[in-house]
Symmetry: C2
Subunit: 202 residues, 2 copies
Amino acid sequence: MSSKSTTKRADALRSIEAIVQAAAECLGRNPDASLSEIARAAGVGRVTLYAHFASRAEVVDAAMSRALDRGNEVLNAVDLTGDPLLALERYIDAGWHLVDQAQALLAAAQRELPAGRIRELHAGPAARVEALVARGRAEGAFRTDLPIAWLINVLQAVMHSATEEIRAGRLNPERAASHITATVLAAFTPPGIPVPEPRGGA
Amino acid sequence: MSSKSTTKRADALRSIEAIVQAAAECLGRNPDASLSEIARAAGVGRVTLYAHFASRAEVVDAAMSRALDRGNEVLNAVDLTGDPLLALERYIDAGWHLVDQAQALLAAAQRELPAGRIRELHAGPAARVEALVARGRAEGAFRTDLPIAWLINVLQAVMHSATEEIRAGRLNPERAASHITATVLAAFTPPGIPVPEPRGGA
DNA sequence: TCCAAACCAAACATGGTTGTTCGAGTTCTG
DNA sequence: CAGAACTCGAACAACCATGTTTGGTTTGGA
């Protein structure tokens, strides 16, 4: 009955934290980052890493889960009610750079984790945006001549490409959000309806 | 004057062709494909591959150059004059799946080739579209409140994402072109102007 | 026909990554 | 403070990819 507690010591928890955090950073930069690299970045020995994670896959899974949880936390705090255009703008503003790191990690995860696990982790975040887009369509704010799945794909693709443009030095990070917003709102506008004027300061 | 010919025998040229073609396919599927894999796919021995290419980088370069040349050939045949909207539609129709394989190869190239070489190869194709978009802006058909580089980035991103959607089984290949066209034309429309009605058959 | 050019399989060296084991040192926790 | 939990460096085995060499066989071209 000695269900005392975590049975893990404080320094062990500290190491695990450092490893998961380093993994998220390294894999976000390069999906092929080695475990040596991750361990070094975490400031722990390679052996210590293996003491806490049985395989490379477990490290990737932990980093992925963590990033998704973080992102979810932020996105769940965004108010998606009211005018769908404004709601989408708020969503983009809050989440465009989160999506990026998740996407980079996802590239690593896709080679190491079973497909089911990935879908499982990715299901939560997708649902809220999907609901918003569906509502916008029902209210006539977003086009209905293209499938919802396609619209969401466009949203993700544009956000993702923005971070790549920034990394390549072709886009000023401060302008990213307004460019994404202007582009996506136009792409979502039903045919025959005028494209909305940008409102956020350029 | 005995510029007889290539000094290469016919079977050697055949092997090289097979290797470059196999490399384009394999690397397009998986940027990490090994040379053994490529040689096997080409139906030649690994040693033969090394007889014609000094290093992995040379193979990647050859595959990349070839794909770019092929793509260029097709795209240069597209008529980009007249109504910018219709011209862009023709461009997308002809090139949306070419862009994909080039992009997959590009992922492999970016890790193996110097940045300068990549820019060099990529410069040609970009120029024609850029000119089209610039003309469309000058004629008031495309928006001018976003940089040209950003608009072209959006075009590429949407085309690229479409091929990923197809690969994941979430998009019917026959609908891809019309979806891309509808999305991009809307995204390019100047604020205040109505989004164009789709004309191509769904 | 005849030889050089091209092919191939097998084997080698090299270097990197993944996991694992060992022994000795360090640090948390009771 | 004492022992258990944790950490670490070094070194091991296994695997895979890159290049290279060797020697023997096929094949193209003159």
